[in-house]
Symmetry: C2
Subunit: 319 residues, 2 copies
Amino acid sequence: MATIKDLAKMAGVSVTTVSRVLNNHSYVSEEKRKAVFEAVKASNYDKNINAVHLSKGKTQLIGVVLPFADHPYFALLLKGLAKQALENNYKLVFIQTDYRKEREIEALHMLKQKQIDALIICSRTCEAEVIEEHLPFGPIVLCENNKEIEASSTYVNHYNVFFDALEYLYQKGHKRIGYCIARKFGANSRDRERAYRDFLKKYHLPYDSGCIFDQCLHVEDGEKVVNHIMEMDEPPSALLVTSDQVAAGIVTCCQKRHISIPGDLAIIGFNNEPIAKMMNITTIEIPLVDMGENLFLQAVNDDLSNKEVSVQLIERGTV
Amino acid sequence: MATIKDLAKMAGVSVTTVSRVLNNHSYVSEEKRKAVFEAVKASNYDKNINAVHLSKGKTQLIGVVLPFADHPYFALLLKGLAKQALENNYKLVFIQTDYRKEREIEALHMLKQKQIDALIICSRTCEAEVIEEHLPFGPIVLCENNKEIEASSTYVNHYNVFFDALEYLYQKGHKRIGYCIARKFGANSRDRERAYRDFLKKYHLPYDSGCIFDQCLHVEDGEKVVNHIMEMDEPPSALLVTSDQVAAGIVTCCQKRHISIPGDLAIIGFNNEPIAKMMNITTIEIPLVDMGENLFLQAVNDDLSNKEVSVQLIERGTV
DNA sequence: TTAATGTATGAAACCCGTTTCATATCAAGG
DNA sequence: CCTTGATATGAAACGGGTTTCATACATTAA
């Protein structure tokens, strides 16, 4: 491949002038500009973008950390991220962690190594301190309600959302409510557990860890939950299910087993995924695409901000 | 940030020696090796990876072109890609095209600019010639049955698969069969249309463009299909649906409308997505994660290969 | 004893752009 | 006529690594 030096020789100008032409700087005569463009065409020249990156200290690359993409929650966040990346002339580096710390650290490392200009962590596994250590190397944006870390974030207030949803079910007469989450120890899960405990305390209801189902992510996990519930002495009469995928699985499975919804079991899903509409599942809509877009913008605008997004209960047929 | 020069000064050695230590080359005395490591620790040094990229002419970055990730088909491909990327110490650059040519070209451009070492195109929109033009700049891997382009590929033989599926339905007594696809003009869709026409010819059945539904991607598109079918004078008795998402939408919608499946309408889905199992949908399993893995490996091993993967009909309750 | 080989180290070239700085011309303003 | 500012251009430094080449000493084989 030709280099900028070759172009300079071909066009009979200095490399500086070539660079100026290629970057649309002013103060270049029309004559030389033309000569450079002709050389570009003749040699099928293209920049070695790595030289640009090195020189500028920027890569127009933003890292995105998420456990996996084959779930609507992350796929929709990613969609929003990708949309803004495109509009702002950035590319995304996709870092799939499977919730493994070392992979998240690898992503942080890319920031330190200047391979990416900023890092967006859609779901965190590392300790807060590890994140903080890397803050000097570039913007890190989080998708959680975390005031402890000095970083921008876009998040759902899962404490409030959960509490409100529990209240809603309580008003509908439910006294024994359970919930399904993806993993026990995420930041969001902890907020939800706090809300759950506070709710139980408020109404003097007993806490039963058997009503909390974790590892619930995909449609097929709904079946596990239903199987489990059928074996319980005192099964919950209502379930908060933090993904409509799982909610859909539960509803489908209950149909097979002739468990009436909402009669025997009420369900509130999350995210308002398309399947929730199709299956008439009551759900809490989270504007995931918007959140993705906002996360991206926070990553490139380096002033700190924390944005709480609002969610909406969509009442359908499962409560 | 400290540079390799600073380290050299601190450790009292040359930059060459520092580089050797950092890259684990032999022929460095234990004494100097130690001195360098101490300097690294003391200065919290890390490489500027862009300098490495420029120097080596490689970035350990592989571009992935796909229209969007919020669909199991692409999300699962991506999962396989990400798995192998991790194992082989590469990162993926995620390029969402929404099937827009200019974005695909941008991805090809990244290859020319050496920002990525190879490009994997999961779903192509550009003309073959555009791809071919970029072949000199690095490996391009395709996810389609294309012998015309001199590139590696991993693909499903959609002609055969479609033909076999149509035969299967024909043996079950269906004479009027339709199908749902995502977009009319992809490579896969053309193969399928050929199979469809050949099948009709073989059994002297009439071709009716009204039995072909495109823009079918998500669950909610299933509803559109059902609405359309209900208004047809001669509706198909069976449908090949190239995504279980849509198949699930159709099944759900038919339940609401009291259309019996498979009685009034038989359905064969594609991909064997989890929802197909939950909803007992007959489907053709495509090993998407494996395909993703293979695509990745083809991208980094630069010898050409074309791998046809085999699929499997999973008979369940919708035929 | 000598030639060949292995070990150890550093100077300098190289990868390929961007940017600063110096220099020069020309037109407008005072 | 002189100063100032806009226009135009190029040499060289810079970003920060990797790699080639040259050199030197210590072994080892012949």
